[in-house]
Point group: C2
Chain length 370, copies 2
């Protein structure tokens, strides 16, 4: 008797186990069989095909619900030759700017029925190549990519393009690829900011930022240079510090800079983080900002509005950039003729003036613009 009971329980357990492991999800075939109709009809009903009778559709939909049917997009993708999936390569997701671009991309792609595979290149061209291969293997409908800092050759991307996969570059672009590009208008942002500094009466400036071999920093530098040249100043003759874009780099730099060099009236930092490093170093030496020395940043990181003094910066419309990028890609996917256009979209940033560049005793005779 006891043995019997034991056997019974084991039996149930094994049965449950088998059930779990072999549980097949319902398919349109199951629905078809249950209603004794053809697979095609079920398939058409699922996509609300106009030629299927309303009453048939209702039956099918009911049965689908009853069987807990979930369409198998993999099978559909295979049959259709492409997935409703877009690949996005991003240097790092845990950067304020990029995670907002992602949000923007999703806000356009999801309503259009696409999902997003996100890959991180981690600023390495090798990982970027692997990412591209993964995305090709997944037969994505398109690829969005912001180049890693290491990337100077583009064969891997060209391969995707040649295969007919629509590609859109965003933020970190390059001239060599003939595709749609969405960029921040760094030149304008930087120009506007420099104009503001000039209007505040500052003349002795200093540039700090990332290496100007990267587009971003060249463009920012050029905007700065242009604004200065308009009032007869030569940026190239003023102090310049180029370094890795981190708080520490700049902090260390200014720790010794203060000792040895004469300070400018204002520091134009092409990065909020570098600005922050400078501020910490300067404040440690007892300098008051902006009274003793002014400073501006770039990117409007969340902390810019929170530190003391509040940091003047340039807001980049990252979410909007993502939306525009996604829209361009969708247009190409839907055109059916990918990569036959190459556009260049500029997202214009916005100057945000805060306390760190408020001159207490501005130049009484501001310069004219021409």
């Amino acid at each position: 008797m006891q043995t019997f009971a034991l056997f019974f329980y084991i039996f149930v357990d094994i049965f449950d186990l088998i059930n779990r492991m072999t549980k097949k999800q319902a398919t349109i075939q199951d629905i078809a069989k249950a209603l004794n109709i053809s697979i095609s009809t079920v398939s058409r009903a699922m996509s609300d095909h106009p030629k299927i009778k309303k009453s048939t559709k209702d039956q099918i939909w009911d049965m689908a619900k009853k069987l807990n049917y979930q369409p198998n997009t993999i099978a559909a993708s295979l049959r259709k030759g492409k997935a409703n999936t877009v690949g996005m390569i991003v240097p790092r997701v845990n950067r304020h700017f990029f995670s907002n671009v992602i949000t923007g991309v999703e806000s356009v792609l999801n309503p259009a029925g696409y999902n997003l595979i996100i890959c991180q290149s981690e600023e390495s061209i090798e990982k970027e190549k692997i990412n591209i291969n993964t995305l090709i293997a997944s037969r994505v409908s398109g690829i969005l990519i912001s180049l890693s800092l290491e990337t100077t050759k583009y064969d891997h991307i060209k391969r995707a393009i040649k295969m007919g996969i629509p590609v859109v570059l965003y933020d970190r672009v390059c001239d060599e690829l003939d595709v749609c590009k969405v960029e921040n208008d760094d030149f304008s942002g930087s120009y506007d900011l420099t104009r503001h500094l000039i209007e505040q009466g500052y003349r002795k400036m200093m540039w700090i930022g990332g290496s100007r071999k990267f587009n971003t920093y060249t463009n920012r530098y050029q905007g700065y240079r242009k604004a200065l040249s308009e009032i007869g100043l030569e940026a190239d003759n003023m102090p310049i510090f180029e370094g890795s874009i981190s708080l520490e780099t700049s902090y260390d730099y200014f720790k010794t800079f203060i000792e040895n060099e004469q300070l400018p009236e204002v520091i134009f930092s092409a990065s909020d983080y570098m600005a922050m490093g400078a501020i910490l170093a300067l404040q440690e030496k007892g300098l008051r900002i902006p009274d003793d020395i002014a400073i501006s940043g770039y990117s409007n990181e969340p902390f810019a509005a929170l530190i003391n003094p509040k940091l003047t910066s340039v807001e980049q419309f990252s979410k909007e950039m993502g939306q525009e990028t996604a829209r361009l890609l969708l247009a190409q996917i839907q055109s059916g003729n990918p990569n036959n256009v190459s556009t260049k979209t500029m997202i214009r940033p916005r100057l945000i003036v805060r306390d760190s560049t408020q001159n207490k005793n501005p130049d009484p005779t501001p310069p004219t613009n021409d």
Copy 2:
């Protein structure tokens, strides 16, 4: 002659167009045909099957390279019944904490050959349901999910579990689901922080944070309460402010609080952003931190180390949480018997003491621990 030339160009163009639109990617069938061998052999060679002769493999690999072959993972997934893809639902990607969890997840999943589909619930249960359906439709191998703030019913998640899809909850978990969970040890973090405040000599405390109907904030409150009760103080009798977790909410609150109420010695804020709001409000009224009033935060947002005074906070190991979550999922996927275990992993956070809680004249007789 001219007509001829024109015709020629049009011909080329159309040919190019057709070529672009019908360009088929190479398949293992193409390789098989080119080498006059069977498809199975090619398939096996591609996955380095031991039974295939080295020389055959080399031939196949060469031809694959020549034909620019990229495996079609969709077809493979269909055949194998599952994709090498993991779905991750996250309330918002553009939150410092979550984007770091993503980084952690990827760092484990990618080397294991999985890619990640990231979906945002945007704190909405409706979007969460849609996300789950999308992921099921994509036949993901597993799902990682942090619940939206709205989520109090779990049928959509139970459905995925019933279908045999391994599920791991991270950060925002719930008791009702019997799966693996990875949580921050908010109780301990909060307890440790409160102990630190006590050791600094503070006694009159105030709690601010998000609604305690959410796990996170209950746990943090309980840690705070426990530490206080150990020295004979009753947290429930001290001031408490519960509100939405934003800088503005807290800023507005303290603007009027200062006018009407007596200030505590220290504010225990269960959120860095709320702490920041309080700091701005207090400093505007000319109060010095920590001299006039101390304050602590939670989460160690990037700005915590950058503001003045530097904010004491609790660091959460978000990347590590992601890694642990991914590891648990992989283990389940590989076990082949999903959701048959339900574990609970606690990630212990770390107290980071900074200037905002340094008591200048601490209690000369610190309390004992028992």
